[in-house]
Amino acid sequence: MNKMVLIGAIMAGLLVFTAVIAPALTKYDYRAQNLSERLLPPGARHIMGTDELGRDLFSRMVYGARVSMIVGVIAVLISTIIGLLIGSIAGYFGGIIDSTAMRLVDVMLTIPTLFLILMMVVFLGPSIINIMIIIGLTSWTDIARIIRAEVMSVKKTAYVDAARLIGLGRARIIIRHILPNIMGPVFVYMTFGISGAILTESGLSFLGLGVQPPYPSWGNILTAGKDYISTAWWLVLFPGIAIFMAVFSCNIMGEGLRDRFNPRIKD
């Protein structure tokens, strides 16, 4: 099953590498408009063609990779931190704290996430920063539940008792002794979380509620593609393949990691 992690890691690595060395790869400025070169199909001058304003699609794709990936990673970091906090506190302390936290999780699971995101985008305004925060704030429930369950089982082990007996504080026990032992499932969640965040961001940007022009994102490149669907197939095809590659690579990494960390669900 490590083969899956490897394939996923190579695909994701390629995308990240492209995003990092973006300036070295692109001949054209991703913002530079050239109205005499509108909607050119892929060719020698523009390997992925140009968009409706004559901007080089390849440059926009490569810089779009930066935006999409940064949004994905930061959003997941935010949700992981919230999930770690709520999950570990609920799992460690139990009782009323636990049941309050779990009701909150129930509430978050009941509101259709995309509607909640839509509402927050409208109230806070669409921008790259807001999108990251909003996705982070609305996607921590899975990880909180995983962490809670793990903490509850690790809490009962002898080494945690030992730590308590030598008089260590609760925060220290949770941070130094419990969390390092449950990081496996956290990594699994994070890979799935990144793919989910990239999907959400591109969907929102596609509808004009996410990353706003002139910043390119795979999603908002597709918005233009929608208007030229019958003439400029390249505007639809390339961004979609990029999103798919990013999501697919994260998902197969997540699958592989899950099998590794939890052999029970292997089938």
Binding site: D106, I111, L118, L199, I229, S230, P239, D267
Partner: protein, 323 residues
């Protein structure tokens, strides 16, 4: 069963309250209050609307009083009036609801049937070529951005081979059709949206059915059935299938928020006249009461769906209702 139902209903109360609290908090996140923001951003607001709204949300009162006020309005299904056409939000949502329910319920149904078939056949022929292909196909569906797939389908079916409708719920000449033709026409318009929703949701259910089926097949009562000389078909359909499908009911309930939430992207792309598109239109024109109304009602739908799933589960599995 009655006791289980009552217990289940009581557990819903904190969740419903929680939803209202979260919605309320988001409304008040807006710097300067949303009535003011709205006035600045939206030229379509009539002059009287601001005073009306301030009174409606009691913005001069302390926060807890505002919340209680708002809650009592919600309880009476009063979501206020739309900023755009001053119609009651509840009316606007209710007229869009049937289209959304039709699309979502059909999709869930298709996901359930296809997911079960793929899961069961995959479990019976584990690790065969068929199983691997199916796993790959469903996994691809899970990773494909649905709105992109929708665009590709539109490109194929609207531009290259215009066989399937890609927009709306019915044809232009709908009013002139007979009742049977009308049903066919709507069904025809549902093919692409349902296909795309189902393709994305299949992986979840089929994988679950598969692993649950594999687990059930290794149980002793299945071995006993084989030893007794029961036919394989009978074992699979009578003993194994029923037991492995029970958890799927709950799973379908849990996947509801995702499907309903996703509807605002689909409905917008396919110009489907449902609640999701209403929410999107409201978002684009800063029609706050409508946005809040759709979110609350979407959440209420999910609660209802989960309740129905739990009741169905308790009906098929006696262990639940006597616990």
């Amino acid at each position: 069963m009655k006791r289980y139902l009552i217990k289940r209903m009581i557990l819903m109360i904190p969740v419903i309250l929680g939803i209202t609290v979260i919605t309320f908090i988001i409304i008040h996140l807006t710097p300067g209050g949303f009535v003011k923001t709205n006035m600045e951003m939206n030229v379509k607001v009539s002059p009287g609307a601001m005073e009306h709204l301030k009174a409606l949300y009691g913005l001069d009162k302390p926060l807890y009083a505002q919340y209680l006020d708002w809650l009592s309005r919600l309880a009476r299904l009063d979501f206020g009036d739309s900023f755009i056409d001053n119609r009651p939000v509840i009316d606007k949502v209710l007229e869009r609801l049937p289209a959304t329910l039709l699309l979502n319920i059909t999709s869930i149904f298709v996901i359930f049937i296809l997911g079960t078939i793929i899961g069961v056949t995959g479990a019976l022929r584990r690790n065969s070529v068929y199983d691997r292909i199916m796993t790959f196909v469903t996994f691809t569906g899970y990773s494909v951005p649905a709105f992109w797939l929708a665009l590709i389908m539109m490109m194929l079916f609207a531009v290259k081979f215009p066989i399937l409708p890609v927009s709306g719920i019915s044809s232009i000449n709908y009013e002139m059709m007979g009742p049977f033709e009308k049903i066919l026409d709507v069904a025809w318009h549902m093919v692409l949206p349902v296909f795309i929703t189902a393709f994305g949701g299949l992986a979840y259910i089929s994988r679950y059915v598969k692993s649950s089926m594999v687990e059930v097949l290794s149980r002793q009562y299945i071995t006993a059935a084989y030893a007794k000389g029961m036919k394989e078909k009978e074992i699979i359909f009578k003993s194994a299938l029923k037991n492995s499908l029970m958890p799927v009911v709950t799973l379908l309930g849990l996947s509801l928020p995702g499907i309903i939430g996703g509807s605002f992207i689909f409905e917008t792309i396919f110009a489907w006249p449902g609640m999701g598109r209403l929410a999107y239109e409201a978002a684009m024109s800063f029609d706050y009461p409508v946005i809040m109304g759709t979110v609350t009602i979407a959440a209420a739908l999910t609660i209802l769906g989960n309740l129905l799933a739990d009741i169905a589960y308790a009906m098929i599995d006696p262990r639940i209702r006597y616990k």
